[in-house]
Each structure stands twice: as C-alpha cells, then as structure tokens.
Amino acid sequence: MTTTTAPSTRGKPAVAGQRRRRFKSGTSTLFFLVLPSIVLLLLIHGFPLIQAFIQSLHNGTLVDPGPFVGLQNYIDNLTSATFWKAAGFTVVFTLVGVFGSWAVGLALALLLRTRIPAGGIFKVLLLLPWVVPIVVSSTAINWLVATSSSPIPMLFANLGLAPPLFLADPTWAKILVCVFKVWISFPFMMMMSSAALASVDETVYEAARMDGATSQQQLRWITLPMIARSTYISWILMTIFCVNDFPTIFLVTGGGPIDATNTLVVLAYRTVFQNQQVGPGVSIAFMMTVVLVFISTLLYRQIRKAAI
C-alpha cells in the first residue's frame, strides 16, 4: 500500500515539475520559433513607425532631422485652417465614398440576384471601374470634363447651356471627386453584398411573403439585418480606403482648386514632398492613423453586436 500510495502522493509534484520543465522548454521553443517573425515585424513596421514618430516631433527637412520641437507640429496642425479644411473634406469624401458606393453596390447586388438575361456578363462589366487602374480612369475623367473642348462641356455648349467648370470650380470639383470615388468603389461593395446575400436562406423570404411582408419590409427587416456583419466589414474597409485614398484626389484635382478637394492624406503628401516640411507632414499622417483606429474600433464593435 505504502508503495502504491507513496508514488501517487509524490506523483503530483513530480508531474507538476515535469509540466513546469516542459513548459519552460516549450516556452523557449516557442520563443525561438516566433523570434524571426517578431524581429521582422519590428524591423519592417516598428522601426519605421518609431522613426516617423520621432520625425513628427522635429522640424526638419528630408535631409536634416532638424531641432526637436515636441508636440508643436501637432499643435500647429490642429490650429491651422488648412488642416481643418482638409479634415472637413476628408469626412465628406469618406461619407459619400462609403455610403454612396454601398448604396449603389447593394442595389446592383439585389438587382443581379434576380433573373436577368446575361447577368454574368453584367457582373463582369460592373466590375470594370474597380479593375481598371486608377491612372486610366482618372485620365478618362480628365479627358471627359477638363477643357472647353472636352466632350461633356461641348455637349453642354451644344445644348445652349453654360458648361460647368467641373474641375476649376471648387463646388463642382468636390462633387466630381466624390462621384468619381463612388464610381470606382461600388463594384467592391457590390461583390461584398452579393457574397452576403448569397448566404441568406431563401426560405426566410418565403415565410415573410406568406406573412404578407412587402418588398420594402423584407429589405428593412430581413435582408439588411442578415447581411449586417458583412456590411459593417465593408464599411470599415471602405472607410480606410477613402481616408487613405491618395491617387483618386491627386490624379483628378491634385487637391485643388484652391485646396477645395484637399484631403488629409494629400495634405500630408504636399506638406512633406512639396513644402519639404517633414515634421508637420508626418504628424498629419499620425493623427489620421489615430482617427482611423478609433473609427475602425467603433465599427468593429458593431460587428460583434450584429444579429448574425
């Protein structure tokens, strides 16, 4: 008995010790396994990020880091009218970009769900604005509207109307850039919505129809809640795409006229590379990052709250 009980009572600490040893050796194994990845991550992401943050605290040029100014660059930006003008248009551009492209994309996804002739061909054609390189589509839009000899101003002139200054008038330029963003982004939303709609069980609609639900009620109370999770994900992604969208603005208007279409990312670029003010420009980028993380977190919480 003693021989049987003794090992069992001593066995517990022996097993625990074994586990501890295994844990220790396992930890070190894990450590060495993940070490290359962590080193790479720190070198690729961490180091430039820290370096950039340090730059944002200095007032230097591309060559000379310049004197340490603390948070002065952040304060200067936050008290600058140009910064807030750019921030304001970034909000407008993002809201129109996200919800405009979502509305168009969802509408087309619902339409393509019905049986229409050559639906597959339509799907491919509707993807083109997303697939075509932005350089090509921005050149096309410029060709369409830029000068008095361009097709759309010519059309207005031939109809006896005064051609709008699509790129030269601040209001028209804002409208054009937002519409262009919706146009190049809706295929992405259409794909996301199509994928989400495909997962909604048709029998739910059958039951709703039997209960006398109208099409609008089905959309409001069945479709939208059931694709909510996918919708929130697409909103998060499109928000990030819009806030960080440099080429759309830069290629179509360059941020003009008179800074009317300047967004924060374009302002950051122009501050660093055109004005050669590295610190103030990088600080704009950092503030953008903080705001993006905040918005993404909020939307991510909505995903968790979503019904399905």
Partner: protein, 444 residues
Amino acid sequence: MSDLRIPDVSRRGFLKATGVAAGLALVPGLAACAQSKTQTSSGGGTAGTLKFWDMPWAQDAYNKASEAFVAAYKPAEGLPNAALQRIQWNNFTTTFSSALASKTGPAVSSGGGFQAFQFADQGYIAMADNLISTWEKDGFRKDFLPGTLEAMKTDKGYVAVPWQTDFRVWWYRKSLFDDAGAKVPTNWDELMTAGEALKKKGYFGWGDGAGAGNNIGAHTMVFMMINNGGGLFTPDGKLDVLNERNVEAVDFIIQLVKAGISDPASVSYTTDNHLAQWKNKKFAFGIYTAGLDQALGEPSGADLLAASPLTGPHGDKAILAFGNNIMMYTNTPSQPGSEAFLSYYIKNMKTYWQQGVVTGLPVLQSIVDLPEFQKSASNVKVVKEYQPVAKTYGTRSTQLFAAMAQVDGSQPLAQFTQSVLGGQTDAKSALTTLQQGLSTIVKS
C-alpha cells in the same frame, strides 16, 4: 515521434518573450542606423564607376541620346568610368535628399534649377571653381553666354555648371490674331486690348494652366511680378512678397481674368490640358516654355511664334528663366574623375541640339551658332531677345540661394496661382496669404 508541442503559455510569458525579441531586434537596428551616420561610404558608386544621375529633360529621344552620350565617355587613365541612372521628376527632391543622406547618391547629376544651391547649403556639393579655372586657362569659359555661368556663383564658389536655360516665353498664334484683327502686344496695355479683341472671337488672350503638376501657372505669376520690376525676394534673399510692384502685377492678372481674357477653366489645367488648348487653337497668347512649337509638333516659324518680351507699365522688360545645371557632389569616388566627366559633358553636349532632342536653350555660343539650332527662328529669337533680360526667382539678388528651391513648386505658390486665376480674390489678399504661406516653409 517528435516531442515538440505547443505548450500553454501565459500572457506574462509571451510578453516577456516578445520584449526580449523586441530588444534584440531594435538594438542592432538602431545600432545600424547610428553607424550609418558615421560610416564613410565610398560614395558615388563602386570603385571605378562614377554615378551620373540625369533627369528626363525631353521626350524618349533625349533619354536614348543621353545614354549613348554617357556611354561614349572614355576617361583618362586612372579616372573612373561613368554610369547613367535616370531619375524621374516625380518626388525628385525626395529621391536626391534621401540618397545624399544615406551616402548612396550620385557623384554628378543634373536636377532642379535651384537644387545645387539647396544642397550646397547642406554641405553636399563639391564646388566647380577648380574646373572653371581650368576652362579659363584653355579659353572655353568665353563660350558661355553672358550671365549663365555667373548665375551659379555663391559666396562659397560655383555650386554647379549651367548646361541649358529654361526660358518662360511669350507665345502667340498668328492665325488667331489675324482672325481677330488684333495686334501682337508689346506691353501690358496692348495685351489687354488684344485680349478683348480675341475674346470677341472666342479665343483666350491669356493662356495659362495651374492644375495638378502644372507649374507654368505659378511661373507665370512670378514672371509678371518680375516683368513689373517686382519679385518674391529682397536683394539679400529675404521674402518680400507684398511689395507694390507685385500688387500691381497681380492686380493686372486679376483684371484679365475678370474681363474673360483668361480661360476660366485654366485653374485646373494639367500640362496636357494646357497643351491641348494651344493645339486646339483656343489659346492665342500666353507664357510657356521655349520649344512649345516643337512640343506640339508644329513647324517652327509657321503659325505658333515667340513674341518679343513685353514691357511692363514702368518700362521693365525682364522675363523669368531657370538655369538648368549640372552639379558635382562631395561623395565621389574621385573628384578629378567628377571634374573630367563634367568637362566632357559640357564640351560635347552640342550633340543634343544637333539631334534636336532637347527643348531647353543652350548656354554656349558655339551651340547657338550651330546650323541645326539656327533653323528654329523661335529659338534664335528667344536666345537673342530673352537671354539679355532673363531673371531668376531671385530677381533683385545678384546670386541664387537655397530658399528658391523651397518656393518653386511649393503648395502656397500653387494655391496662390489658383486663387488669382479663379478671380475670386484681390491682389493684396492673395499676396498676403502667399507671404504667410511661404514664410512657414522658407528657412532662410
């Protein structure tokens, strides 16, 4: 079987592990960074090769011609060979700055008109004084057109050597003036009169462009200030935007805009849009670079012609020009090698004009005298009439300086140009905003 398995790891254990890894990663990274500042790189390329960075100065024909030209360089015994690398204009300041800071930059380069002054201030430029004194001895210095070489001189010496001049030129389309029965202007009053006559026929007497990437509009603004005896800087290189001559010049442009003599859409014209308006015979008169006829593929001296420099209301006749230059850097495998290559380049560059692959105008009299150059009536006229009255951004200063590099292509200048061409401002307000904007970026 392997005994390897993933154990349960506590959060603290994981953080400890990552912390150690982070430390391990950062220490060599930071150490490498710190070392890079103190290391003395061989620079300018591997031993025996001298890096020459060149910009795409014209169409593809220029790129091919310059590659052949550099390849044809045969250095003297013991001196390094040269290798060409093409640098795009997009973000070129960043490209040069980061390369110089990391000691991977060129030994010799072309570049922005004021780049040499900016980098000389930062200690990256090898002065060309020795080379120029050699040219004085062999008589080559006399070949430079008056004022071209002198424009490169600073208190520390010659920061670069000019190789072509980029003039801003008054152009007019003869057929449109004939159609409108207008006289080609010779002064500002006549410009207004001609503009009104052209407007009646649907043409623009003030062709301009200030859209994304198009600096002609900004240059036009400074051109008009200079043409009126004003400018952006005092003689000692300080910002002086809000002077009376500038206000008068900008006020005149706003009058042209409000009179409908300027194209209202020009605010957003890219270079392509700008050229299209000239090509489509919408622009009858305006400022552009030399070689506009060549850029549009039109025969020289036919319909698109260079006008004589206009006289401002106070009798001033100055025009804006940029002295494009070639500079040497201190980070070179061999300074005598850099000088030998630059000397070869300048003394033999006439081949570009013989082949007709550049639109800039020569700085050497021997090139101006070439029959190939003399064929272009507009180019000859520009050299003859514009060169003597050419001014830089420095205008009233006898020397160029680094601040000009910070102003040219800057956001405040672009915004100012768009606000003036938009016509929704007055001269004093626009110039006040410009002064405020430039004072934040000019570190002089």
